[in-house]
């Protein structure tokens, strides 16, 4: 077969209507809580009221005796797991911890930690049953704050947790799970060359991913141990792996179907209810449905870390960054595994620097275990660095964009975390921000403007899709990564272009775990990147298959036949020997030429290109209330190539607004009793429509050479720059360097008063 070449309709780069759209605007789309089965029971979880307590005894006999209760489970229903780290989801995972997080064993480690669960014939009975479970707690002293948790006299959460990454190995357990560091060059030598050095300490609050759809699961386990599970997750293959392990089932016995997912942002990469629903169903021999309340989502599912960060940077008089140091202390929640490692690696990633040292600590405390949240770890460390970069610009009297440009990482720059960058688009984003009308508009009193850049690696990973050419020439596309915001549209566009069929003739679905090979989850900005590579691969197989069939139909040799432009053609001397055939033509004769036409794209996608972005924000501070209003916002980010520009813009805009919430309002508020005081949307205040302006999105496209269409992941990076950009704008508006997030009205008002700021 001659070289194949694609030149389809050119859907890539256009704004098609998403294939799943009609279902989502009519209420027909089925999300996690929308599934029901005949005879199903309702499951509810009993949660610890204490932030830290030894569980002395659990007596479930009264609950079990309540009419309508069909199963009660506790720690005794899950086999303990050995301590070993395996890569899963977004971080390394230790099943010893996972089994303890889904159901407390020796101790309850945070308020809201699951202690028991029941399944009953109605929600009301399940609720009553929870009250009848008698748990004897021995309440222990708790610790919430990361710095306090690191003190030698802090209450220790885990007797067997000895700080990893330090020499000599500690002989006493502590809450510091791990110390990590990266070193590039020699920072002492670097600081010696610096004309200006800025050192600051920052504090960020833990924030929740804030997906609107609470976790939900529906499970049914039959007498022979076969299980079916429907749940809202970013990765149903990952759910299957975790549940198989926790329940001791063969992977082939569990079939997981991902419902439509109502937001995740990293928070739906781990299991909470799923193993409980399966365990209850196994015991009750009936389907069990479980849905979290919003309060449970806040108290028992993963926020991201709050942190304390110290940054020290040095620059020469003319603005060259010569040394960067940072020390990051990240909350992990009740079990180790904060995103401090990527925080360490990202801190100085946007810049070309010779001398960098970043140290990170992963610290446990009596809070819910953190889960991934969009570019996990990066917003925190980059916020601190971007704030200091701005201060250096001010000290040197340099334009903050120029200073960043002068130090920007570019192709060939050795990243602070080791390797050299390929083509990246930071300079292009800085340039396009500088050219905006926004950057050049004057401001009034109490208004400020800030800029910040951000970096995220992006990943590929295991991916499997199928493309099936149907009898009528339409194409069924099956992917195995949940569609969280336009994936089906993107993959259908690629398939349509590759096979030269109309976009509307490609119908994408998300297959269950029994229908495809293993797929890693939707996360790390990988699903469109890796999925499109797999679709290209599957389409290649189909085109090769069609060429082979054409050879037989036309009695030609392989080299006399090729896929050119939009169909299989006889080429060269025999170009007029047969009528070229499209995919639809082959569909008609599939049965007579060898059977179904199917392509499987399966790969472990490599070559994810980092995406860098720069954000520009204008805001206004109300000196009487301390309230900050975002007036104007522009995002420029490198998308490599935007498959569907509208959904790429949507990622930029959504990430920016999540970042605005992180910067200005959102935080977990704990009382002295170690209990969360704002476990609801009224008091955990996420941005609403009237809080934000339009978000201008500039698509920068520096093609990723490792992807057939030049695509880069785009979903993570947009949440990285807002924190720094807003803090920098606050400084511009008030002259005050805010180092603590969120910059909520009480804090702003207090700072204004303390600094006696009355005018710019």
């Amino acid at each position: 077969m001659a070289e194949t070449q694609s030149n389809g309709h050119g859907y890539v780069g256009t704004r098609t209507i998403r294939p799943d759209g009609v279902d989502k605007v009519t209420g027909r789309a089925r999300f996690g809580a929308d599934f029901n089965l005949p005879g199903q029971l309702i499951g509810r979880v009993l949660r610890s009221p204490h932030p830290h307590a030894r569980i002395v005894a659990i007596d479930t006999s009264k609950a079990e005796a309540l009419p309508g209760v069909k199963a009660v489970i506790t720690r005794d229903d899950f086999a303990d797991q050995p301590s070993e780290f395996i890569p899963a989801g977004e971080m390394m995972m230790n099943y010893k911890d996972v089994v303890r997080n889904v159901m407390a064993r020796e101790k309850a480690l945070y308020e809201g930690h699951a202690v028991a669960a029941v399944a009953a014939t109605s929600a009301a009975i399940a609720k009553r049953a929870l009250k009848l479970i008698d748990v004897t707690y021995e309440v222990l002293p708790h610790v919430i704050d990361v710095v306090e948790a690191m003190r030698p006299d802090a209450p220790v959460l885990h007797d067997d947790l000895f700080t990893a990454g330090v020499e000599p190995k500690p002989d006493k357990p502590s809450n510091i799970a791990k110390r990590v560091e990266i070193v590039l060059g020699d920072i002492e030598a670097g600081f010696a060359k610096a004309d200006v050095v800025v050192e600051r300490e920052f504090k960020t609050a833990p924030v929740h991913q804030g997906y609107i759809e609470p976790h939900a699961a529906l499970a049914t386990v039959s007498e022979d141990g076969s299980a079916e599970l429907w749940c809202c997750t970013q990765g149903h293959f990952i759910v299957r792996a975790h549940c198989a392990r926790l329940l001791g089932l063969d992977i082939a016995r569990i079939r997981v179907t991902a419902s439509e997912i109502g937001g995740g942002f990293g928070g739906k990469t781990v299991v909470y209810l799923e193993p409980l629903a399966l365990a209850l169903s196994r015991k009750a021999k009936r389907p069990v449905k479980m849905v979290m309340s919003r309060e449970e989502v806040f108290k028992a599912s993963g926020p991201t870390s709050g942190a304390t960060v110290r940054v020290k940077m040095g620059a020469t008089r003319d603005g060259k960054f010569v040394a960067g140091f940072a020390e990051l202390k990240y909350q992990a929640g009740a079990f180790q595994g904060s995103p401090v490692q990527p925080g360490v690696m990202c801190a100085y990633a946007p810049y070309d620097m010779e001398n960098v040292k970043v140290i990170g600590y992963d610290v446990v405390s009596n809070r819910p275990k953190v889960a991934a949240y969009r570019a996990p770890g990066a917003p925190i460390s980059e916020f601190a660095v971007e704030s200091v970069v701005d201060e250096i610009a001010k000290k040197l009297g340099l334009d903050p964009i120029e200073l960043r440009m002068m130090n920007a990482a570019r192709e060939g720059t050795k990243a602070a975390y080791g390797p050299k960058f390929g083509p990246i688009g930071l300079e292009e984003t800085l340039n396009s921000i500088k050219k905006t009308e926004h950057w050049n508009t004057p401001l009034r009193k109490w208004q400020g403007r800030g800029v910040a850049s951000g970096f995220w690696f992006n990943i590929g990973g295991e991916t499997c899709v199928s493309l099936t050419v149907n009898e009528d020439g339409t194409v069924s596309l099956m992917a195995g990564t949940p569609d969280i915001g336009g994936l089906r549209a993107s993959l259908a566009m690629i398939a349509a272009d590759e096979l030269s069929v109309e976009y509307d003739k490609v119908r994408p679905i998300i297959g269950d775990t029994g229908s495809l090979g293993f797929n890693f989850l939707t996360g790390g900005s990988r699903s469109a990147f890796s999925g499109s590579m797999a679709v290209v691969e599957a389409a290649k197989q189909i085109k090769a298959d069609c060429c082979a069939r054409a050879c037989k139909l036309w009695d030609l040799k392989p080299e006399q036949v090729a896929w050119e432009r939009d169909r299989v053609r006889p080429i060269g001397d025999v170009a007029d020997k047969a009528k070229p055939m499209s995919i639809a033509d082959f569909a008609k004769v599939a049965g007579k030429t060898g059977g179904p036409i199917v392509g499987y794209g399966r790969l472990n996608a490599q070559g994810a290109g980092p995406s860098l972005g720069t954000h520009l924000v204008d805001l206004e501070v109300d000196p009487e209330t301390g309230r900050v209003t975002i007036l104007r916002y522009t995002v420029a980010q490198d998308a490599g190539r935007a498959i569907h520009p509208a959904y790429v813009e949507g990622q930029f805009q959504g990430g920016a607004v999540q970042g605005i919430g992180w910067a200005l309002n959102e935080e977990y508020v704990y009382g002295a009793d170690g209990k969360l005081q704002n476990a609801g949307f009224l008091d955990y205040r996420m941005p609403v429509a009237s809080d934000v302006p339009m978000i201008d999105a500039i698509l920068v496209e520096v093609a990723n050479p490792k992807h057939p269409y030049g695509v880069r992941g785009v979903g993570e990076t947009p949440i990285v720059p807002p924190l720094g950009a807003i803090a920098n704008a606050m400084e511009n508006a008030t002259g005050i360097r805010f180092t603590e997030l969120p910059m909520s009205p009480p804090k702003v008002l207090k700072a204004l008063k303390e600094q006696g700021v009355t005018a710019k």
Binding site: V25, G27, G210, E213, E260, G263, H644, G655, Q658, G680
Partner: protein
């Protein structure tokens, strides 16, 4: 305690159902009438994912009891499209990519229709304040505001 017997109109259809006193209208819609387009995001009236109209008034169905709706007219997301034709709001949400995950979309559409019934030519600010009771975590609201404005223009043209 005996259940309440309730008769009401949902999307133009007469319905009757039995409900417990503590069951919300959202529970009834989702669990009894199997209209799962209205979503529960918070059960406390903070997210708007369960928005419906009750005799034309926009409410969070999680804050209304099932036993309160006797004789009343309820419109949900399932009643927004007219036959095979999508409502202009639905079309514009799709054209503008005003949804990512889609969980908040039914609530936004119901709330937006209620706005446009009262104000056929809302400003950006009016749209943003009217929709301030509906949380969206994916889009940053930009494309939602654009879609509502565009739908309003389409509806004004008739």
């Amino acid at each position: 305690m005996a259940k309440h017997h309730v008769e009401a109109t949902v999307n133009g259809d007469a319905v009757e159902f039995l409900c417990e006193t503590e069951e919300t209208l959202l529970d009834v819609l989702r669990d009894t009438l199997h209209l799962t387009g209205s979503k529960e995001g918070c059960a406390s009236g903070d997210c708007g994912a369960c928005s419906v109209t009750l005799d034309g008034r926009l409410v969070c169905s999680c804050l209304v009891l099932g036993c309160e709706v006797g004789g009343r007219r309820i419109e949900t997301i399932e009643g927004l499209a007219e036959g095979e034709a999508l409502h202009p709001l639905q079309k514009k949400f799709l054209e503008h990519a005003a949804l990512q995950c889609g969980i908040c979309t039914p609530g936004f559409l119901v709330a937006s229709r209620a706005l446009l019934e009262r104000n056929s030519n809302p400003t950006d600010t009016e749209i943003r304040y009217w929709l301030a009771g509906n949380l969206c975590r994916c889009t940053g609201y930009d494309k939602i505001v654009s879609a509502v404005k565009d739908a309003a223009a389409t509806l004004r043209k008739g």
